[in-house]
Symmetry: C2
Subunit: 402 residues, 2 copies
């Protein structure tokens, strides 16, 4: 049995994801698919529109065989760390043959070539990156320019978010000396950030989320044309019990409270906090009680929306610098958390248990690994934002079985 791994957020799972899943199996010639999925908080520093259990259900409904959770410590970080965590999960499992990702370019060769050159972070690259950062460029932009110069490819290729993610997947595979083979499929129809819905059946997750939260009645035709029937049903069900849609507005009061109640020294202990941004955050907390106004006014060229959102998320989760350091993220994930599986997934788990060195977790143990304790904390906080949320949700969680 050939197995393909996918790295996903499914926020929510839509027709584009379905297409990618089908193409991934076809392109790699696989019989089974495993998804590593972000938990309740995502790479852009946002809460997922619906919780991880519901999103695991969506994944199983389209035919994914096994859904694993990417720990919070990885899935809420920059593209490089996110990718490394996800690939280290697939690698550690020991039963994955391919990893397949969508990219704007659809060509694996230049990504592989560039990764080969970047793996040792050559001095010329590091020097150029430093120069560009000192010029005030945001990190993703500076990284793209410096890396493109190294490989002699147009920088614009590396400013496309899925190409850069793809590069990081390939880099992670090389760092782990993994035998997993990378495969890429050209993304179709909808750009990553595209906000308008221009096609009848495929739209970006950003456009779909925009429609979910839209108060504009024109857009109330809904999202059903753009998502599989199963996604639609899960969202309807979760909505009926006030567990969907979830957004930052539900959590912003907690962040405001922390900003008003903490002193700048305490704030400075939060992961990624520094350079005086804590004072700016505290000042703006006294000026804006609306999340969107707060963010719009706060963001700068250097502090992009996503970077700021992640910073606020670290504050919401009370994620400290010393806690992050204690995780040794560069060693890869220390456990594998199972969110759901079908019959074939059950077989894969059985195979994996024979070769995988890491604990495979289906039920929260009494004395969880500190990184797992952060996942538990993230779930408690996520649930706190929901009316009638379940603070002990993580303990009650059993894998979804299809």
């Amino acid at each position: 049995m050939k197995v393909v791994g996918l790295v996903v957020e499914y926020n929510p799972l839509h027709n584009g994801h379905l297409y990618h899943f089908e193409q991934a199996k076809k392109a790699s010639g696989s019989d089974a698919a495993i998804a590593v999925m972000s938990g309740n908080f995502l790479q852009r520093g946002e809460p997922a529109v619906v919780d991880k259990r519901a999103r695991a259900e969506m994944a199983l409904s389209i035919g994914i065989d096994l859904v694993l959770e990417l720990p919070t410590a990885y899935c809420t970080q920059n593209a490089e760390m996110f990718a490394f965590g996800a690939i280290s999960t697939l690698h550690a499992l020991g039963v994955v043959d391919y990893v397949c990702f969508g990219s704007e370019s659809g060509d694996i060769r230049w990504l592989d070539h560039l990764a080969e050159r970047l793996i040792d972070e050559p001095a010329s690259f590091k020097k150029r990156l430093r120069e560009l950062l000192d010029m005030g460029l945001p990190y993703p932009r500076a990284y793209a320019d410096a890396a493109a110069a190294l490989a002699g490819v147009p920088a614009v290729l590396l400013e496309q978010p899925n190409n850069i993610l793809g590069l990081n997947y390939v880099l992670a595979l090389k760092r782990l000396k993994s035998s997993i083979e990378p495969v890429t499929i050209q993304r179709i129809k909808a750009g990553y950030h595209q906000e308008d819905i221009s096609d009848v059946s495929i739209a970006s997750a950003t456009a779909i989320r925009k429609r979910i939260f839209s108060k504009d009645s024109d857009e109330e035709v809904g999202i059903s044309p753009f998502v599989p029937r199963s996604t639609w049903e899960v969202l309807q069900r979760e909505g009926s019990i006030n567990r969907f849609p979830v957004d930052w507005n539900l959590y912003f009061p907690f962040v405001l409270h922390s900003l008003l109640a903490m002193d700048s020294e305490e704030l400075g202990q939060i992961h990624e906090m520094g350079e005086g941004i804590e004072n700016r955050l505290q000042k703006f907390a006294k000026l804006y009680s609306s999340y969107d106004l707060f963010m719009e006014n706060l963001k700068t060229k250097r502090y992009t929306w996503n970077r700021l959102q992640r910073l606020l998320l670290y504050l919401l989760l009370n994620l400290k610098k010393n806690e992050m350091q204690s995780f040794s993220l560069s060693e890869g994930v220390p456990y594998i958390r199972v969110l759901g599986f079908n019959e074939k997934g059950k077989q894969l788990l059985k195979q994996a248990k024979e070769v995988c060195h890491l604990p495979i977790i289906t039920k929260i143990p009494r004395d969880p690994h500190p990184m797992l304790a952060l996942d538990i904390r993230a779930t408690s906080v996520y649930e706190l934002g929901l009316r009638g949320g379940r603070a002990r949700a993580e303990y009650a969680y059993v894998p979804v079985i299809k």
Copy 2:
């Protein structure tokens, strides 16, 4: 001009307070009255039903001449510290001749006699107190028993909350070697904690608050019979802009967030946190999302409702042990904050400025005293609980002038 000082919370100001104010001037033969009032959070660890500015207005409306704020560092502590802060304010002002308080006994002599014996905390008293605490008695009960034994008075006298507050006022005067003379008036009609309204015009603040928050339509006749017209008008006005009534339910989500996001070591840094209560709080935070259920289940003989409420308040305000220690509370207040005055109050302030060694604050300075910074923080947090609250309220505050 003879001046009487009152220590008040006015939560809200009612007919019983009006009676006490009038009797205080009469009993002491004073021409003017100064009230030291708790700010936005109160001695029982609760948010005030309406903010301090509105409550200062109520006080001026009944004829109080000058309203001063008791700093948060004092007004949210046990009876002893609360009383010491309030009396040190009146003492430092330098223009107060009497302090008048209501008590169940109405007799100053035994209080004075007992305070005289307690001032040096004799060994026999300390030993008895320790024994009673070790037997598991809550502090107020143990203190009452040990103090009563010392003076040969029935312990029941010292279990009455206004007698014990009165004793602490007299003790504070003695500790400060103040020339202010204590006067007491017997409280009438409504017991301190009495919850039923049994009289047509005087009811306890507890009974009035119960009526304010009652969802029982039988009680919707309102509170107007029990409060001065001016109080009624202020509450109506504040209610119309969603600034009344305020209760713990508005703040409990922030406490839950802190309990879920902090580890027990961080919680242990909070003022008065210890003895493993932090673990119990964290456990119960996962079980109850309703404030009343949380409290009802949490309280024990040793951890009374008020003690627990204060603990939660310290957490809400992020008030740390080391911050409290830095205040040197036993030296008395380090500044005098003016909340409002009338023409006579203005004269009193002028007189006070000639004799008072402390800064008299009518407008928040650029570099506030750390204890004043806590008041500013408390106001920001109080406002956060109000829809459309004003995080910068404290800076915009100017004294109410009648």
